[in-house]
């Protein structure tokens, strides 16, 4: 049996991905970046919205390519009986399956955990759902901002004393995908030791709650519901985003008394009221006003460098231009080139870490069915004639 080898801690692990949009694909991406061989099952009859929506060429769909580098694509039509059989046969060669189809869909197709463990007893079956797999509201569906709203996270993001505004609309899917990837790897360690596979039920909403655990503890311990607090921080003052020249913003956090002393010297503030954190917290609005007046005419990046040189935590608030021009991110190969199916170079987003003996990150997102031959032939051992027959029967499309 053949397997794509790229090194990394998960080399030799095969993952089957039955996922759509972002959260499920992100889980697969995390595993692929760690060295797993991740096979994405697709079909012309039910293409991922990110392959088709507002897209000229489904093999060059920008959104799809952004979240699916380093994966393989195989076409199997799960709406046909032969397609389902084919899928089960393929699943029997896989260590991990990740799915984020609509609640219950995978069972209705007859390829749920109970069905697949018949063909692969030690499979690790990861099911991702907004509310998880069971419970009175598990039938409900939604997108990323719904996860954040339901999980309590949105309620904390907003200007002080005002209604919640929530995180940027893009937040939540990728965090959810990472939680799923971590759980799958914990299970993989268990399997290594015992040979036992298992079913994993991951909840997007609960993932969001995990990200605000300390705020939940505030309620749990004191019965107090934390409210939107703008940019406030109970233990750091000043702490916020301040306007700069050209519509830019700078983030400044006087992380301790020493940093405050340095910051105050830069601004020219001499105030004994502000020397302790308690004093600064008591006059926070006044300090914020003075800071904003001082930063307003300055260049954000220059000011951040000046404050850093004085030992103050500061950063220009990065726009999309700043991000793609960030030389530190290029230097660390966070942004890095890979090669697409036509041999063209394309830049992708790497993982959040560097690691010794890491997996080689070399491949762009696959074109539709790019790896049909490898998967059906090399992995499953189907003859060319049998592959043709399945294609004619509509199982491979």
């Amino acid at each position: 049996m053949s397997m794509v080898k790229r090194g990394g801690p998960l080399q030799g692990v095969r993952v089957l991905e039955l996922t759509k949009v972002w959260a499920g694909p992100y889980a697969g991406r995390q595993l692929a970046f760690l060295g797993a061989e991740v096979i994405k099952v697709e079909s012309l009859g039910s293409l991922d919205v990110t392959r088709v929506y507002g897209v000229k060429d489904i093999d060059k769909a920008p959104g799809f390519m952004a979240v699916n580098p380093q994966k393989l694509s195989v076409q199997i039509d799960m709406k046909t009986a032969e397609g389902l059989t084919l899928l089960k046969d393929l699943a029997s060669t896989c260590d991990i399956l990740v799915e984020n189809l609509r609640p219950g869909a995978i069972d209705r197709l007859g390829i749920g955990y109970e069905a697949l463990r018949q063909v692969r007893p030690d499979i690790i079956f990861v099911s991702m759902g907004m509310y998880g797999n069971d419970g009175p509201l598990a039938y409900q569906t939604g997108y990323a901002p719904c996860f954040a709203a339901l999980g309590g996270l949105s309620s904390l993001v907003g200007y002080e004393g005002e209604a919640p505004r929530g995180m940027n609309i893009r937040y939540a899917d990728s965090t959810f995908g990472t939680a799923a990837a971590f759980a799958a790897l914990a299970a993989l360690n268990h399997r290594k030791r015992t040979g036992e596979g298992q079913f994993i039920d991951v909840s997007a909403v609960e993932t969001m709650t995990s990200m605000i655990g300390d705020s939940v503890m505030a309620f749990s311990l004191n019965g107090r519901v934390p409210a939107c607090d703008g940019n406030r921080h109970a233990e750091i003052a000043p702490h916020g985003a301040y306007p700069c020249a050209g519509g830019d913003w700078i983030a400044i956090a006087a992380q301790d008394d020493t940093a405050w002393t340095a910051l105050a010297a830069c601004i020219g503030i001499q105030e004994s009221r502000f020397t302790t954190l308690a004093g600064r917290k008591a006059h926070e609005a006044e300090i914020d006003d003075a800071l904003a007046a001082w930063t307003a005419s300055q260049d954000a990046a220059t000011l951040a460098a000046t404050l850093q040189a004085q030992g103050v935590a500061a950063a220009k608030s990065a726009s999309s231009v700043d991000l793609v021009a960030d030389t530190h991110l290029w230097g660390r190969e966070f942004f890095r080139p890979v090669i697409d199916a036509q041999g063209e170079e394309r830049s992708i987003i790497g993982p959040g870490y560097r690691m010794s003996d890491a997996a080689a990150l070399t491949d762009c997102a696959p074109t539709l069915g790019q790896h049909n031959e490898y998967v059906f032939g090399d992995i499953m051992g189907l003859s060319a004639a049998e592959q043709r027959r399945l294609a004619d029967a509509g199982a491979i499309r």
């Binding site: 419970g135 901002p145 904390l156 919640p164 505004r165 300390d214 726009s319």
Partner: protein, 381 residues
């Protein structure tokens, strides 16, 4: 019987990111020995929220959340004796978690550059704001500055163009995200039983969480500029006040509009909009008008009741829950997301568990966070 039960972790971390990583491993049964400074312990012990009744000291809810199921030992790593004692602990360890500034590890005998020779087989994960090689203008960082350097703050909240960017939920979003990423990396490295150094950058973790948009931008498929709304999707989606609390409503396609029409009882104002305006007729004026009318209507509704009715019609609307809602929420109760633990200073309280349910090796919080140095006798004999 949990998934990581035989794994031994030494946690040198003193901030939220590394401590959260340790907790995630302890959730699965790893033995996590937390090394703390004698006298004061981890700085997170002195960060809120604090329990407001009872004695002070050992009463941080933050520390309690981050350190369930761990052991605590005290070592002064600024002394040769402390470092020597650590070296003994390390002999038995599979994993070390750290989140100090770059360079600190070399000072205690764990130089990442020579790790493969000095500690073959050890997985060493170092979490830092910008990685092991920060440029001069990024040496001082907090979660706030990381949030801004990653692009999330600039683009939060959606649709905001004038008021200051926001830091996100609570104080520690980048730390939680980095802790989760670190735990994932460590679990992967444990699988192939090979020692590794993991250099984790919080900025990169956060930026990679935006890969759907940032990946298109860096590939040249999506415009980049200084717009605060550059990550947005546009449209009237957002949070609306209800009779009590708030609801989030998503609308992006014609069927959503039809369903909302049904929910609202086909009010006259909706006839000023074409059926497909969400797809083909978005203008700032229409969005504002739509939000105004829907907002008026939702003010008289109950967030849970109206969300349930909307969901039945195929509308993507959900209540905006706050932490108080969650603890009595039927879905969370059904899934037993919160579990009761008893701590010597904090008493009995509900704690969040984990967002994944594993059929063979479920997460189990085996004990409340340890008091400082509770396990010295066992580990420093």
């Amino acid at each position: 019987m949990s998934a990581l039960r035989s794994i031994r972790v030494i946690e040198l971390a003193e901030t939220v990111s590394g401590e959260y990583c340790g907790r995630l491993l302890a959730d699965f049964g790893a033995q996590v020995v937390k090394v703390e400074r004698p006298g004061t312990g981890s700085p997170t012990r002195r960060l809120g929220p604090f329990k407001e009744t009872g004695a002070s000291g050992e009463n941080s809810g933050l520390f309690a959340y981050l350190n369930t199921s761990k052991q605590s030992v005290t070592l002064d790593l600024s002394t040769p004796d402390g470092v020597a004692a650590l070296a003994i602990l390390l002999k038995q360890a599979d994993v070390v978690i750290d989140d100090h500034a770059p360079g600190w590890l070399a000072g205690i005998g764990l130089d990442p550059g020579t790790l493969a020779q000095t500690h073959p087989g050890l997985i060493l994960c170092a979490i830092t704001p910008f990685g092991q090689d920060p440029p001069a203008d990024r040496r001082h960082a907090t979660d706030l500055t990381v949030m801004h350097a990653s692009g999330w703050a600039y683009h939060t909240p959606s649709a905001e163009t004038k008021r200051p960017p926001l830091k996100g939920a609570g104080r520690f979003m980048p730390s939680y995200e980095a802790g989760l990423e670190a735990a994932m990396c460590i679990a992967a490295c444990l699988h192939d039983d090979r020692g590794r150094f993991i250099d984790l950058s919080m900025q990169e973790v956060m930026a990679s969480r935006a890969d759907y948009v940032l990946g298109q931008m860096v590939a040249g498929d999506m415009d980049v500029d200084n717009a605060r709304t550059r990550f947005d999707l546009g449209g009237p989606a957002g949070i609306f006040p209800c009779r009590q609390g708030f609801a989030y409503l998503w609308m992006s396609i014609a069927p959503h509009w039809q369903a909302v029409r049904t929910l609202l009882g086909d009010p006259a104002w909706m006839s000023a909009f074409t059926d497909d305006w969400l797809e083909r007729g978005l203008t700032p004026e229409r969005i504002a008008d739509c939000r105004h009318h829907i907002g008026d209507w939702l003010k008289g509704q109950d967030k849970d009741e109206v969300s349930a009715r909307a969901q039945a019609l195929g509308i993507i609307m959900v209540p905006v829950n706050d932490p108080g809602d969650l603890i009595r929420h039927p879905q969370f109760l059904h899934r037993a997301f919160f579990t009761e633990l008893t701590h010597p200073a904090l008493g009995t309280a509900l704690y969040p568990t984990a967002p994944y349910k594993l059929s063979a090796t479920p997460v189990a919080l085996t004990g409340a966070a340890p008091l400082l140095g509770r396990d010295n006798a066992q580990f420093l004999a």
